[in-house]
Symmetry: C2
Subunit: 401 residues, 2 copies
């Protein structure tokens, strides 16, 4: 157990660990800090070799203290797939996709939920609540069911219907709001103030990042402890981006990887691109994106609480931010499926659209190693594919191919 | 490379390996046989320890010869989850679920497709065709896309819409038939006779079983090379059951596990239970189930081509066959989600219904180790969950829990 304290990345305040905590008093999300010097001496990379292929293999770099508090559905160590057809076709000879479709609840939100809910259990939480655009609610509801924690989930009435169903089947308290995720957040905020529930909203508890950072650990381990040149990440709330950056920094500090940093790229939809706009204007915070809209529902976050951390990660790694149009996203989604057999979510497909653009304009060189992060399975987004197959009668003949 | 030949389990005919082959001349499916004596001498269990956590770790027990022909999306080594809450509640102190929801295309069909398509590629196949109730079509379309093989998929117009979409997005040829899977099979059969396409119908090519048998390998490895007392399998076409039985027999022959066999249990829906009926009547083949219907679409197979192999596996392991009602299946699906956080497909949930019945009537003893096989994710079956959550206005208050 190497956790040392919580640190505020905005005002640098420190807090004792092992307490129930939400935001810093300055309003910023908090980061979990570890005694990495001590870990560097006592924990070796090769200790991992015989551990199970899930995110718990990085136990010493995670915040849960007791194994009995682990709430796991088998999450992590998702495949890193080389795109051997698409890559060279698009001028990228070393293009990979990390497929977070192969995880409980079909989205990378499971990583945050696994660590977040396990730690909530360890802290004795009985009820937690959160607003969600859908997928996070589905994941947290599932892990809370297993943990025996009552989850209260509030989502916009326009959130995908599949998310309602996975929350409901898990037995969580489910509410729709006639409004947007911000409205859901306000409803949750009032209930938390009144009833003292644990606030599991994005970045309002410090452990979700710890789950997401394991994507960074895995990418490094899967590439035999080399980091790629570029990682492209679809950015809504941005917790995965913040987590990957934190995870790679931690690996550097314990000496498992060298000093090289991958350039981190944020992709957003042109219909909701506050981080891209801030990056283009060289600012360190974003402004609220009015009238946001995109088919990639997970990217519909007009102003992320952790925007400054996302932008830090981009600036510190000489990365960039790219906005892509919805029709490009859908095109990329079909390319991934028809060339590589991967039915990605639209958010994940957006990373391919960005890679195409960055390879075309020379920002990505043809022999650089590039990792796309597909954050979930396309099976949760049936509306992104339309098809009108011929209807045959039983005596019909198929045409020759 | 240890493949020795094909063997007919019905008439015992042998065929040379490495040829394009479909059924035995007697009409039976063929089984791939290996030189297990030779393998016993040269291949050790501990060789696996450092291999990747996917089904290709069992390379020497698989039929693909060259690594360059492997078509993989990261399939296999799905988690074996202990049901620590539900098990004891139901009188089973050692109850596990193997979760095949965490696999490409969200169903265990991916295992058959991975091996089947890889071997088809190795054999130089350019076009293959198959009838499907949906999920197998989705999996084979994805792997064929990656392999560069043209897949022609024919499914009943009532098959789940999500399956149409995953076939379409993968760029396969998709046809609906105004009829049942048998009608789709006849359409495919005529095209194969006319155009010489490869027939990828269930059990009409011998490699799909080889993919499915890896579930047996994994269960044994995940239990540290012990087999459980009971494995409960939802039986439509039954390839998984046949595969698990074959896989465990192979592990015994190479000496990786002892002589103990798990009792294999077939679960079917009461609305389509030909194997259960045959087992109750102590017969070795089933008869066609008229007017079959069940919400568990994957179990709607009125007469499986491999029925005699399924029944053999049951008889040879002192297993049994159980029919469960659709409403019990839905109840079990909700129990899995609300107690253990697992949103299973209805076919997978049927195994829990069967376990409950078998524990109640004493066929399963309370300390026996029991493995349920969940064949896919519930995300592909949104219609199995209904919910009418309250719709709140933005200024609303949540009730106290």
């Amino acid at each position: 157990m190497f956790v040392s304290h919580f640190e505020c990345p905005k005002c640098s305040a420190h807090y004792e660990s092992e307490q129930r905590i939400q935001l810093c008093r300055c309003g910023s999300p908090l980061l979990v800090r570890y005694d990495l010097k001590k870990m560097r001496r006592s924990f070796r990379r090769r200790a991992l070799a015989l551990r199970k292929a899930n995110l718990w293999r990085y136990w010493e770099l995670l915040p849960v203290k007791k194994e009995e508090n682990v709430v796991s559905l088998g999450e992590g160590m998702t495949p890193l797939l080389p795109l051997k057809k698409l890559g060279p076709e698009l001028g990228m000879n070393s293009l990979y996709l990390k497929d977070e479709g192969l995880i409980p609840t079909g989205t990378f939100k499971a990583r945050g939920a696994a660590i977040g809910v396990s730690k909530a259990k360890e802290l004795g939480i009985k009820v937690l609540a959160m607003p969600t655009n859908g997928n996070a609610g589905g994941s947290w509801a599932a892990y809370c069911a297993k943990a025996g924690i009552k989850a209260i989930i509030v989502m916009p009435k326009d959130a995908p219907v599949i998310n309602r169903k996975e929350v409901a089947v898990a037995g969580a308290g489910l509410y729709l709001v006639d409004g947007l995720i911000g409205d859901a957040g306000k409803i949750v905020g009032r209930a938390i103030a009144e009833y003292g529930w644990y606030d599991a909203s994005t970045l309002k508890e410090p452990y979700r990042i710890e789950g997401k950072k394991t994507m960074g650990f895995e990418i490094a381990e899967q590439l035999d402890w080399q980091v790629p040149d570029v990682i492209i990440y679809p950015t809504g709330g941005g917790v995965g981006m913040i987590g990957i950056y934190k995870g790679i920094r931690e690996l550097q500090e314990i000496g498992w990887i060298g000093e090289k940093m991958p350039r981190l790229v944020s992709v957003q939809s042109a219909g909701c691109a506050p981080v891209v706009k801030a990056w283009e204007e060289k600012r360190h915070e974003s402004t609220y994106w009015e009238n946001s809209r995109t088919i990639a529902f997970g990217l519909n976050v007009p102003k992320a609480l952790g925007d400054f951390l996302i932008l830090d990660a981009i600036y510190n790694t000489r990365g960039c931010a790219v906005a892509v149009e919805d029709d490009e996203i859908l095109k990329a989604q079909h390319m991934l499926a028809s060339h590589e057999g991967i039915f990605s979510c639209p958010e994940g497909a957006a990373t391919l659209s960005a890679a195409i653009e960055l390879a075309r304009n020379g920002w990505i060189k043809s022999d650089e190693r590039v990792v796309l992060l597909n954050t979930g399975t396309g099976l949760k987004y049936p509306e992104t594919v339309t098809t009108e197959p011929p209807l045959l009668q039983p005596e019909a003949r198929l045409p020759r191919v």
